[in-house]
């Protein structure tokens, strides 16, 4: 199979503009006769469904949650990037493009990323017009902050709830179209099959999670906006329901899976506290604007953090990366934390944590500024702390509250304890420039696709990509496909392809119920997560990956013999829903390990211990691996690797350095 | 009427009725309380009877009285309807229901408090309003004061009524009911009207609390004072 990314010809800056002005259009009368299925209602799905409906298409939108507003985009905290250069600090479309490519360790496409940077500015405009209450300065202009891997302030935010505000904006646009009758919304529905007719995606089988019934839906095109698969690790910052099922069914129906092993481990999460733990909670990267990360200089130091004097603290990020300091990209910060903890410098009861300390900036950055503002000469430390605390509270109040809630420790008084956790998956369904998978008519948007972040995503770029895909990319690119479909009449869902797909789904679901074994679905998920975290997590090696593959295969075999799924397939049965999702994770996990094994280099979030510099930095092998790995599912857990070579015409590839 | 039809059709419209009629009743209470308080002059009811005479025969007051009665009726009917309708919104009741954890008991019991006030009111109107306006069931005595004025003696009626300890108890209970009803109703009316401001709302609330204590207290002292013979 030859993978064609369909990047438009011409200079980088003009590719998207030229594409837009030459892509075939669908006239308004024809749009009304074209049905589009959108699966998932996060930032990508809600924005796509709303925009396509505004344009006149007939849209059906699906989500497994009880309302489209609950998609996990809602939990994004820190912010959204855009090359507005409102701070006059030298930002530009090109710089955002460059930062993103470099941040992704040179494993993403120039054309896609440049387009992303170009439309980033429109996103902010659109969101503000919807009434998204971004943070503002006293003069009424929008406020910005910094995020990792950049040296400009280009991140727009709404306290620590940016994802919530953006999603509610997209959700309200979606609900507006529901009210106007242009979108049919199906909540508590899970996609379980893609229906293909004559090689094209023509619909889905969705399971009504309340009634348990399988339902058939036709669409001229199907958009998967179903997020990432971080929950393969069991413990992650993803929502409990986040799953790979829709993407995996698409993969099994012929869509290639791109770079599955590229996983982002976020450096600042609340550490695990017990075996019962069901998820990990992120503390936004924005905290690294004002928090300094450190461990004691002495191994196994058990003193209270406030009792450890300044000179006995190791601010290891500032020491190792003076240019970026605490704001190095996520992969680097995570690995550095792991390195310190593995070396015996970790803190807290588990010794698998480092400190994120706000006291210095509370006093010296904000406290001092406030003191000057209030005309307090020679303020003492207590005054500085008190003044600074108010500012910190305004910026991060909700995060501090959340931390206190979970750990019962007050981060205004004691440094936060943090440790890396699985957060995002750069990998996903392989798509071309038009966001189309290798199945015609089947598209993947947002985190569900593999496209824009290479081997590591920069902070505040996930929201940007999700909304870029939904608001500004798919509305154009889908025209290229649908303009050729205007003569296709809606296919009745009693077509044999629908029959067969429904039968497949039905057999699989009743299969789970028939096993009647002894182990819970949750226990398999937890075990899979441990294997993945130990052997395909922050650091990987050949031996571990090979073991993991064997272990996963054995676990999967055991699952189909011994799992116990209670209840029946009619009515509301969350355990059955979970069984289907875990079954798919048990297949995906193996593919991730295969991918990690095949990529014999380190890049971004993919760190193969065999390939590192003397200083412990990731060592890429551009001669062999300057390419996307796209895996084809041959059935029976057999995969074939295809490669899409990446061409860098505008950026000089370098060793990534943040020193 | 088209513009105002929402006061019958929407939940917020009906709420507006409760607030507007409630505030006019509050205004009435203030006047009523001020007039009653004149008995504390202990002048044998002279000031009181002059005021009562004015209230009973001034055509403007009599007209307003019709409005007040209409408002009172609307407040009662709407209140009963609201209470019953709201009760139907949760068919399946909670097994555990510690209401005091998130709200005041009297704010949740406006229907009950209103009913207590209503019972009291029926008795109260029979005692005073009916006799003063319609001269039934018996003719009031007339008095001639030093000033030469010749008035109906509602004051004497008060002295008579409050000889009965049952009446005194009912009156005091009615006033307590009124106090709690006001404690919620006063600030609630302003909230309903959309008057909520970080500087003014605390003030409204304080005035509301003061009003809800002072006015019913004055009302309640009168029957007690008559009964104990502190006022003659």
């Amino acid at each position: 199979m030859k993978l064609d990314a369909k990047i438009p010809e011409g200079p980088l800056e003009q590719k998207w503009t030229k594409y837009k002005s030459s892509v075939p259009l669908v006239n308004p009368a024809n749009k009304r006769n074209l049905n589009i299925i959108v699966v998932g209602t996060g930032l990508a799905g809600a924005s796509a469904a709303a925009t396509l409906a505004e344009m006149g298409y007939q849209v059906s939108a699906f989500c497994f949650q009880d309302s489209p507003r609950r998609a996990h985009s809602i939990a994004a905290q820190g912010g959204i990037n855009a090359a507005k250069n409102y701070q006059n600090d030298g930002d530009s479309v090109h710089r955002l493009f460059y930062d993103t490519i470099k941040g992704g360790d040179y494993r993403s496409r120039e054309g896609n990323v440049h387009r992303l940077a170009e439309v980033s500015t429109n996103i902010i405009d659109q969101c503000v017009a919807q009434g998204v209450p971004f943070a503002r300065e006293y003069g009424g202009t929008l406020s910005n902050r910094s995020f990792g891997g950049t040296q400009v302030q280009r991140t727009f935010y709404a306290a620590g709830q940016t994802g919530q505000q953006l999603l509610l904006g997209a959700y309200s646009a979606l609900e507006r179209q529901v009210g106007l009758g242009n979108v049919k919304m199906y909540a508590r529905h899970e996609m379980v099959e893609v229906v293909k007719i004559d090689g094209k995606a023509r619909g889905i089988i969705a399971r009504n999670l309340v009634s348990g019934k399988l339902e058939r839906y036709f669409g001229h095109a199907v958009l998967l906006c179903t997020g990432g698969y971080g929950n393969v690790f069991y413990l992650s910052t993803n929502a409990m329901g986040s799953n790979v099922t829709a993407a995996w069914k698409a993969h099994k129906a012929g869509a290639l899976f791109g770079n599955p092993c590229f996983t982002q481990i976020h450096p600042t999460c609340i550490p695990v506290s017990g075996h019962y733990q069901s998820k990990l909670t992120l503390m936004s990267e924005s905290l690294r604007n004002d928090g300094r990360i450190w461990v004691p200089k002495k191994q196994g130091d058990t003193r209270h953090p406030n009792d450890i004097p300044e000179e006995e603290r190791d601010y290891y990020l500032e020491r190792r990366y003076p240019a970026f300091g605490n704001l190095v990209p996520r992969d680097i910060a995570s690995r550095a934390a792991k390195e310190r903890c593995d070396a015996g410098y970790g803190v807290g009861p588990s010794k698998m944590a480092v400190y994120l300390d706000f006291k210095y900036n509370m006093m010296n950055k904000y406290g001092r500024a406030e003191a000057t503002k209030h005309g307090i000469a020679n303020p003492d430390d207590e005054t500085l702390l008190r003044l600074g605390k108010d500012i910190i509270k305004e910026k991060y109040g909700n995060l501090f509250d959340m931390y206190k809630q979970i750990t019962a420790e007050d981060p205004y008084e004691v440094p936060m304890r943090i440790y890396p956790a699985v957060h995002y998956t750069m990998g996903g369904l392989w798509v071309d420039y038009e966001l189309q998978t290798t199945v015609p008519g089947l598209y993947a948007l947002g985190e569900a696709n593999f496209s824009d972040h290479g081997a590591n995503r920069l902070g505040a770029s996930a929201l940007m990509q999700g909304l870029a895909d939904g608001y500004f990319v798919i509305p154009y690119t889908i025209g290229n496909y649908l303009s050729k479909e205007i003569h296709t009449k809606p296919i009745p869902t009693d077509h044999e392809a629908f029959e067969e797909a429904e039968k497949r789904a039905n057999e699989r679901i009743s299969g789970f119920l028939k096993i009647k074994g002894t182990r819970t679905v949750e226990s398999y998920h937890r075990e899979l997560g441990l294997i993945m975290w130990d052997k395909c997590g922050m650091a990987r090696n050949e031996k571990g990956l090979k073991e993991a593959i064997e272990q996963i295969r054995a676990l999967r075999e055991d699952f189909y013999k011994n799992v116990r799924v209670p209840g029946s397939d009619s009515g509301f049965n969350p355990e059955l829903d979970k069984a289907g999702r875990v079954a798919d994770f048990l297949e995906l996990g193996e593919l991730m390990c295969l991918d990690a094994l095949a990529r014999e280099e380190s890049c971004g979030g993919h760190f193969r211990e065999e390939f590192q510099t003397e200083e412990g930095e990731a060592m890429r092998d551009d001669d062999k691996f300057l390419s996307v790995f796209a895996w084809e599912n041959k059935g029976n857990n057999d995969y074939e690797l295809h490669r899409e070579d990446l061409n860098y015409e505008n950026i000089k590839i370098q060793q990534r350095s943040y020193k | 009427m088209g513009v105002l039809s929402f006061v019958f059709s929407s939940s917020l419209g009906r709420k507006l009725v409760m607030a507007v009629t409630g505030i006019s009743l509050i205004a009435f209470l203030l006047v009523h309380c001020a007039i009653n308080a004149t008995v504390f002059f202990n002048d044998g009811g002279e000031t009181f009877n002059i005021a009562a005479e004015f209230m009973g025969h001034n055509w403007l007051i009599r007209t307003a009285e019709i409005g007040l009665f209409a408002g009172l009726l609307w407040h009662i009917i709407q209140g009963i309807w609201l209470t019953l309708d709201n009760q139907k919104r949760r068919k399946s009741k909670y097994g555990a229901n510690p209401g005091s954890a998130n709200s005041k008991w009297y704010s949740r019991s406006m229907g009950l408090l209103g009913s207590i006030i209503l019972i009291f009111l029926v008795m109260h109107l029979k005692h005073f309003w009916v006799v003063s306006r319609f001269g039934m069931p018996h003719e009031l005595g007339h008095l001639e004061y030093a000033s030469g004025e010749h008035l109906e003696n509602l004051y004497v009626e008060m002295v008579n009524v409050f000889q009965n300890p049952v009446a005194v108890i009912v009156y005091v209970l009615g006033c307590i009911g009124l106090g709690y009803h006001l404690l919620h109703g006063f600030s609630s009316a302003f909230q309903t009207l959309g008057i909520n401001h970080k500087s003014y709302t605390p003030m409204i609330q304080s005035v509301g609390v003061a009003f809800s204590i002072i006015v019913p207290l004055i009302f309640a002292i009168i029957p007690v004072a008559f009964h104990l013979g502190l006022i003659k």
């Binding site: 925009t51 919807q130 646009a173 507006r176 019962y276 069901s278 116990r564 | 919104r89 998130n102």
Partner: protein, 251 residues
């Protein structure tokens, strides 16, 4: 840390919307650092292993922002702690040996799906009736071309933090949705972008709210007291004011 606590649970079980529900008693061993939902995970694992029907409950993000979790705990939505959702409630808020009563949101407008899961689609329909700014993608002007005073943006933001969980409805003795509607109306009526539809929006949303079968507000304040995002009662005053203004303008 590490010590276990014994909790006696009285949980509401209801097979489906039309079935008769009842309380069922369970004993669970919990750790003080567990979240309330993690305790339910432990219980459900037990139930499945014992061949019983696990308890259905809604949950997703488990970090207090998606608004999916919805348990009335000892008669209080999201439990005894103020300002948190059920998923952020930890067992350290309870004592060893406590009996804890757990029920679904109860309101006619939120029919029970199963056990502790309810259907809150009424909220979506209220938003769909007018809780938006009608601006198609591509119509926006530069984000900084409309200046918004910081305090206005902050107040609008505070109202916009509503997670749509429905705790307000479940806490209200009248099952009223005024706090939810008030939050959205306040957010959009404060911002310049919300002005063109200011009057039609509030009228449409209140009409839909009434049609969904929520009760009327009697200003008890229980909603704001139980709101996990601490949306203030003033949003209801705003809603009232916006509505009357719109109505008196003939909308």
């Amino acid at each position: 840390m590490g010590n276990t606590m014994n909790i006696n649970l009285k949980v509401w079980r209801q097979q489906n919307e039309n079935a008769q529900g009842h309380f069922e008693e369970h004993k669970v061993q919990a750790s003080p650092d567990m979240s309330f939902l993690e305790m339910f995970d432990v219980l459900n694992e037990q139930l499945i292993e014992d061949g019983k029907d696990p308890i259905a409950f809604d949950h997703d993000c488990r970090e207090g922002i998606c608004g999916m979790c919805s348990m009335v705990i000892n008669g209080r939505p999201h439990g005894p702690k103020g300002g948190v959702t059920t998923c952020q409630l930890h067992m350290r808020s309870f004592k060893d040996g406590d009996t804890v009563v757990v029920e679904p949101w109860r309101a006619n407008a939120f029919p029970v799906i199963k056990d502790l899961s309810v259907n809150r689609s009424a909220f979506d329909r209220i938003i769909s009736s007018g809780g938006y700014v009608s601006v198609n993608t591509g119509n926006a002007v530069d984000a900084n071309s409309v200046l918004i005073p910081k305090d206005v943006a902050d107040t609008a933001f505070q109202a916009a933090t509503c997670i749509g969980c429905g705790a307000c409805v479940s806490a209200c003795k009248n099952a009223s949705a005024m706090l939810f509607v008030g939050a959205k109306v306040t957010q959009l009526s404060m911002l310049p972008q919300g002005q063109p539809e200011r009057e039609s929006r509030v009228v449409a949303m209140v009409d839909q709210m009434d049609a969904e079968g929520f009760g009327a507000c009697t200003n008890t304040g229980a909603c704001a007291a139980e709101c996990p995002k601490e949306i203030p009662l003033s949003v209801i005053a705003n809603l009232n004011r916006e509505y009357y203004k719109a109505k008196l303008n003939g909308k």
